[in-house]
Amino acid sequence: MLTGQRRIEDQFVYGISRPTGGHRAVNFRLNAPYVQMYGIVKRFPGVMACDHVDFDVRRGELHALLGENGAGKSTLMRILYGLYQPEEGRILRDGAEVTIHSPTDAIRQGIGMIHQHFMLVDTLTVTENVALGLKSSREPLLDLDRVEAGIRELSEAYGLQIDPRAPVWTLSVGERQRVEIMKALYRGAAMLILDEPTAVLTPQEVDELFVTLGYMKENGYSLVLISHKLQEVLAISDRITVLRAGRLVGTVPTEDMTRQALARMMVGRDVMLERTREEDLDAGEVRLRLEDVKALDVTGQPALRGVSLSVQAGEILGIAGISGNGQRELAEVIAGLRPISGGNVEIDGIPITDWSTARRTEGGLAYIPEERMHDGVVRDFAVSENLVLQEHTSDKFSNGIFLAFDYIARYSRQMIQDFYIKTPDIRTMTRNLSGGNIQRLILARELSRRPKVLVAAQPTRGIDIGAIEYIYQQLLEQRDKGMATLLISEDLDELLALCDRIAVIYEGLIMDVLDRDSTSAQELGLLMAGVHSEKQGAQLEEQGAQPDIQ
């Protein structure tokens, strides 16, 4: 590993705000604090995002930062990275006070950050993204070959597999994250802040990431990890800091903690972490059926290559799979957002292939999209306006032409109450809500109309445990009332906890559909990687497509 590090040093001739002085990761004194933050205060209109928070990271340490949505984790780290200016407080690096006014300052202090929402220019290549903002050795001309060589070396040293020439928009989420890490490493960061890096990764990718983080720790890097997943925090971190509503709850060594204890620290009450489902209901009639459905992705490549599935009333069918294997297209095909190039979709036995999205909604379909900020809500609409996004033309909310304001207002208040949406008012702009609350809003909108079928894509991604608890509870309640749910998730624990059956999707085909009680994470993991059980494989070879599983 150290050889890797040496070579990195050599190639910083590309210019850059190269960290100077004795703080190189190579010369670390273990356990010495690298960065310390004292009494940090930051207010946003109406919120105290950080309220006199203290925080420190040592060399060679992985320090986890926990808290509910909106607790102030990202804000605290954005302050450290120079994106926000604190109103009060001091920041020390290696014991000396520093001022960080901008990301440039932070980079100069050896701080790198992997943002919750990736900061990549997706029309550019990996190399161009890394080179961006660096001084070229051939200024004013670019010297991408040199950067590319550097990237290859670093990839090798830290096990970060990426193709430097690939345009970022062609990359998977996991690969994008590696580009982000690469950007920081290339800039000679000695400390790396990772804001919810695992929320978007598959289990395999999470493992790979943790291996990389392990290497880095060994090499004396200071790491800050923000996460909502207590399991992984307990597994990988050295210390844990918990924030609640902008205040520091405490910093504790990881070995002293359990999940229950952590959850209590975060939420301030006991959280039910394991949700044991009621005994299985009798399978009702088939609500949603897909027969040999084929569809293309945005680039025109086949994304679904003959998917057949059916979901019964009172059942949650999970779709497991590594992202990019057709899950997005599957959801969109059912929701009527993507034309199918073959096959059939039915609700309650009626073919809905030609139905518009709106008609499907009327027909009893509900959809929780994966990209909730982007696809789920209009951020500059008021909360009440978003609550009727699908149904504003229905008899309830309008007379066909005019919106029924009073009713919409009453309805919205009811929803806010029923679904515990934290918002000052129904007229508040949705953009001012936290991620967890926006998800509650979407849930309220979709579930309140008592759909027959729900398609939920990654409904808990990036959501704090308190909110997750609530979402699980809602999904199960609706299931018990007879709703058929298709739950697309990359979180196997979630699938195993909620689903009756789990289908595994791989390269646009359903590998197998397994009963929850008779499967395991290992088996699912193998299927997700495209490894067939023998009998299934043989069958597939023969038919070239996948048999109806019902």
């Binding site: 901008s102 550019l124 993204n129």
Partner: protein, 310 residues
Amino acid sequence: MFDELFTITTLIGILHSCVRLATPYLLASLGETFGQRSGVLNLGVDGIMLMGAFFAFYVVFEGHNLWVGVLAAIAVGILMGLLKAFVSVTMQSLQGISGIGLYLFGLGLSSLLFKTLIGSVEGVSGFRQLPIPLLADIPGIGHILFNHNILVYLAYLMVPVSWFVINRTTLGLKIRAVGHNPEAADTLGVSVNGVRYTTMMIGGALAAVAGASLSIGLQNVFQENMTNGLGFIAVALVYFGSWRTAGVLGGSLLFSLVNALQLWVQALAIPVPSEIAVMMPYIMTIVVLAFTARQIQKPAALARSYERGE
């Protein structure tokens, strides 16, 4: 009756006209391309062109060298670009509308200065036709491409130069990044506003030279509002070209080709109603784009001002 159109001489004439006519569009659209690639929409190109046209003319009219005229245009173009940048970037105003403001300001001020400093329409002797030795003697092509004034050559030279700057320099990388994801650029220490100021100055300079190409290159006069909305067409051509220098070149040439064609059709007394002929360039531009429109990602941050998330 169209036979006349397809004689070699006429075809050469049409292409020659097309190449020359494209000059101001090309310069102005390339300038606009820089701005849009960095995320700034500048609808005020026409105003900058007028200012450039006036200052270039005035300097030459006062007896200075033609190149001093070009420099004067560049200087005033940069100033206008700075003004646009200040309003759109620093003051984060609605870009479409501030462009209209800039247009009105440039239109008014250039006419006002013309009235006060010159007072009547006058001619100057501008850049002369400069056949490029040897090349100009190639039959056909030589006349079409290498028998123009130097500003025409400059405009075409700016195509590869612009491509190179955008795709092969660190500045170009920053421009592309800032136009697509300013936040990402910002987190890497790229000054979003700095880059946008730069592209506004480049765009202003090119637009002003486009104006100068009219007043001291192609027409050798200055008249109030002499661009007659040419700058707006130039902005439209950037969309036609999908923000690519080659696309912008294609758009400028197409628009000019149809214009050249319709002028020739009329001049040769080919019985096509002139009422229809004069609409053709505009109709054809739309039609061609409608049939060829490839879904190229526009700079995602186009027309959005950037402010760090506070």
